[in-house]
């Protein structure tokens, strides 16, 4: 962005440089402390008892046998929750501990604190629970059609949202339709849920060290459940080992605090991997139907669609995920007429909520399947059909909202198309079985392998929607040539800490930028989600630093008796732009001085959707295209992704190195969803809650990524930069599935694509 306060001479570590992470050295040396790395003298271990049934009445919950186990210090149940008994990000419908009924397998019933994890395990085993089994609601369609009695006082439909736009009766000479289905994906962040709670003397308050995505969202919910004023609950961000949406909802926070307050001792709670699968929300499984009407030359006239998202037992963010799904039905394409109906519903499956892509992953898988059908029906290529319909700045969405952001959809497609295809033949250049689908162990026959190419293009909203003011706060202080930044922005691995330092260095001409502890002693930064922190917290840091720089210029202006407006930062100095011989280093100018400013960045207001799904509900949009090349063994049902090409609308590359990392990491998660990752449910139970059975992409599954970064600074973004976290994982999934379809000529409509879907 144009900045009149900085001359062109820049020192390294500024915006646009590939700066390395400030925490990188600690992380490679094993010195970085994650939330699981916080031993404290005298701390107890906590553990959680969970329901083994998807739907049951609790007839008896008897904890007395657990008290007989030496080493047990506390046992708590619903009766011990002093404040609000339920919590939730949008609706407080989820009990801290189930009391009368359990609604999913894994729902917490009680928690214990003891001297050793093994003592905890024995205590949990000793607690007696008698259930009266109830008929579980596991088919989301039965929640939509109302044929199952309510499983929660709030009913079985979490939200129904229509989008009606233009002429509902419009039609065209070409009509294509399809059903699409998506399985339940897990965030599978590597750093398992863990927290340490330290009680204040007398139980007056509590300090919680936790890995979370949203410090203040946690704080509001935790304090309410503990029945404590918010200033008595202090959250400190402990090292976060990835998040991807899975730490947006509470998991162990309230339990850990309650155990600490009850025992008056520090308590650590660590989930194992199986408990993590039970203890956090997942990506919504979806059933979708779409019908596209188009002209003979492939221009979309109308889209009809139906979405059913399985929200599981509690609401979490299901209502917002649904809004994202239905409002992204059209994808990055122009469409004037639409009839869309969507439901997010309650079932006795595990609760679902935020995961990278948030509803748009589901919609994109369906609309991109449709675009390929439309291309086939019109005799056009996958690229041509998308170019013909590509949205531009100023186009109107089916919600009536005008896309005011930079919208380089056509450029995303063309630049992806221009990236080189892999030169490697099927099976690689040598005779290496590792280059074949299935690798060395599965002996795919080279002669049977077929190659396919597929496309996916996406639009993704950024920031929160529907009237939510998800502002961010940052403080900058400058003293003795050192800048210090303070914010509550959760660093979950994405690298905001790096960007924040770059912003301060660029604006203030200092090299040394200290980062204060991330905690709740400053105002909210909102959640690290919705691709929003670069924009929102970047905006807040930018604003705070600019205000500090104004103070610096005023100070130097007074020293030199010149108008501060003439001053600029040049290299490490403040310079008089009218007389460049006049300069003073920022270090000297701030010697013995301290300038401190706090700023809140708000995005422009949005509005809720009306009953017909009309309204300017989203804040901003970003775009991306993906092209995937796959080799498939149709007999063994094996897939090897050979290459992913992508062009992404990023606004500005604030840190090119971390942009590439976000692109590659997101693509890996989209690849996982395309061909391997699924939480398999049976009668409300997760059948594969382990890394042995829930398959994640490994080094061998991930192909090379060739990328083109599209830098068209967005004038609406404070730094010109768009959020880059989510788009990489959105359209790569349909691109990979389209490539498999292309290779084997089969109409695959469900992800993940399983071997049996290919070979049977």
């Amino acid at each position: 962005m144009a900045d009149s306060g900085v001359a062109t001479r820049q020192r390294p570590g500024r915006i646009g440089d590939s700066v390395v992470r400030p925490d990188g050295r600690e992380k490679v040396r094993g010195e970085f402390r994650f939330s699981s790395d916080l031993p404290v003298e005298g701390a107890l271990w906590g553990a959680t008892l969970r329901s083994v049934h998807p739907h049951a009445r609790i007839k008896r919950l008897d904890v007395t046998p657990a008290w007989k186990i030496p080493g047990v210090e506390a046992i708590i149940t619903a009766d011990d929750v002093p404040g609000k008994s339920t919590y939730g990000l949008i609706f407080a419908d989820q009990p801290v501990f189930a009391s009368e009924v359990v609604r999913y397998v894994g729902e917490p019933l009680a928690a214990v604190a003891a001297d050793h994890p093994e003592t905890c395990r024995k205590a949990l085993e000793a607690i007696i629970v008698e259930y009266e089994l109830l008929d579980p609601l596991t088919d989301p369609e039965r929640a939509v059609d109302g044929s199952h009695p309510p499983i929660h006082p709030d009913g079985n439909v979490i939200r129904h949202q229509r989008v009606l736009c233009g002429d509902p009766d419009a039609t065209g000479p070409v009509v294509v339709e399809g059903f699409y289905e998506m399985g339940m994906q897990d965030q599978a962040f590597l750093g398992l849920e863990a927290a340490l709670a330290l009680p204040d003397p007398g139980g007056a308050g509590v300090e919680l060290h936790v890995a979370t995505q949203a410090m203040h969202e946690d704080l509001h919910q935790i304090a309410a459940c503990l029945g404590l004023p918010e200033d008595k609950v202090r959250l400190i961000l402990a090292g976060v080992g990835g998040a991807f949406g899975g730490r947006e909802d509470l998991s162990l926070q309230v339990h850990t605090c309650l155990l600490a307050l009850r025992t008056g001792r520090p308590v650590r709670v660590h989930y194992g991997r199986e408990e993590s699968f039970l203890g956090h929300i997942h990506r919504h499984p979806a059933r979708m139907w779409m019908r596209h009407h188009a002209t003979a030359d492939g221009r979309i006239i109308k889209i009809e669609a139906r979405f059913v998202l399985d929200g599981g037992a509690y609401a979490s963010t299901s209502s917002a995920v649904l809004v994202n799904a239905v409002t992204h039905t059209q994808g990055p394409y122009v469409c004037e007429n639409a009839v869309v109906d969507g439901w997010s519903v309650r079932t006795n499956n595990p609760p679902c909520g935020a995961m990278r892509g948030f509803g748009v992953v589901q919609a994109c898988f369906a609309h991109e399947g449709q675009m390929d059908k439309l291309a086939a029906a019109c005799g056009l290529s996958a690229v041509e059909i998308r170019l013909r319909n590509a949205m531009r700045t100023g186009d109107r969405l089916i919600t009536g909202q005008v896309v005011e952001n930079v919208a380089p959809v056509e450029r995303c497609i063309r630049e992806t198309d221009a990236l080189p295809l892999p030169d490697e033949p099927i099976g690689g250049f040598g005779d290496d079985p590792m280059r074949l689908p299935g690798g060395a162990g599965l002996t795919a026959d080279r002669g049977h392998i077929r190659r396919g190419i597929g496309w996916g293009v996406a639009i993704k909203n950024m920031m929160y929607s529907e009237g939510f003011d998800d502002y961010s706060t940052a403080r900058c202080s400058l003293a003795d040539g050192v800048a210090t930044l303070k914010f509550a922005t959760a660093e979950v691995g994405q690298g905001f800490v790096t960007i924040a330092q770059q912003i301060a260095r660029t604006l203030l001409g200092v090299d040394d930028v200290q980062l204060d502890r991330i905690d709740t002693t400053i105002g909210s930064a909102g959640s690290t989600s919705a691709s929003r922190q670069t924009w929102m917290s970047g905006g807040a840091v930018d604003m705070a630093c600019r205000r500090v720089r104004e103070r610096l210029f005023e100070h130097v202006g007074r020293m030199w008796s010149v108008d501060p407006i003439r001053l600029v930062v040049d290299g490490d100095s403040v310079v008089d732009s009218s007389d460049s011989s006049r300069r003073i280093s920022v270090a000297d100018a701030t010697a013995g001085q301290r300038f401190e400013e706090t700023a809140e960045y708000h995005h422009p207001p949005t509005e809720p959707l009306d009953e017909n799904g009309q309204g300017d509900c989203h804040t901003a949009f970003a775009f991306v295209a993906h092209r995937a090349v796959v080799d498939v063994d149709p007999e063994l049902g094996l897939v090897k992704v050979i290459q992913v090409a992508t062009a992404q609308d990023i606004g500005v590359a604030l840190n090119p190195l971390s942009v590439v990392g976000q692109l590659e990491g997101g693509i890996a998660q989209g690849l996982g969803l395309a061909v391997m990752e699924e939480i398999v449910m049976q009668d409300g139970k997760i059948r594969n809650p382990s890394f042995t059975d829930y398959l994640l992409p490994t080094f061998l599954d991930m192909p090379p990524v060739v990328a083109s970064l599209i830098e068209e600074p967005d004038p609406r973004a404070p730094l010109g930069a768009k959020g880059i976290g989510e788009p990489p994982c959105i359209s790569v999934t349909p691109a990979i599935v389209a490539a498999i379809r292309d290779a084997i000529g089969k109409d695959l409509s469900r992800v993940p694509v399983r071997p049996q879907d290919i070979c049977l």
Binding site: G24, K27, Q494, E664, F691, F699
Partner: protein
Amino acid sequence: MAEFYSLRVNGVDREVVDAQLGESLLFVLRERLGLLGTKGACEQGECGSCSVLVDGELVCACLVLAAAQSGRDIVSIEGIAPAGVSTDVQQAFVDAGAVQCGFCTPGLVMAAHSLLERIVDPTDTEIREELSGNICRCTGYGRLVEAVANVAKTRIALGGNRG
């Protein structure tokens, strides 16, 4: 039942007191010896976060009993580099952007050192194959492969001088 034994970790004999039977090497390193650099993300041998060297072999610390490692030479992430210095692998990870959340990182640093001991000039496929026991959920592996390849190249250029 409490156990008493000693482990040789990073060149130092450490006594393990009050351990319960059946504690894994991962648990003992972290909770009894305070070596928190080794991480656990699955405790089933599936993710490699807990990788350590035992008598020079890469081992998942979550899968082996601590007490059974008496008399062996254990190297954890804390012992891979001299105090205050980073290894070439560690530096390459930082420089290549191979670190995001960092939870997989200590295990991957150990695995990469082990790989480069065995294969001086690995191909892309060899790097991927050798490291495929280590899951990283953040990076998509591209920068990690690049970091390891960079180290191999530099070591060869320096004529086998291991930094």
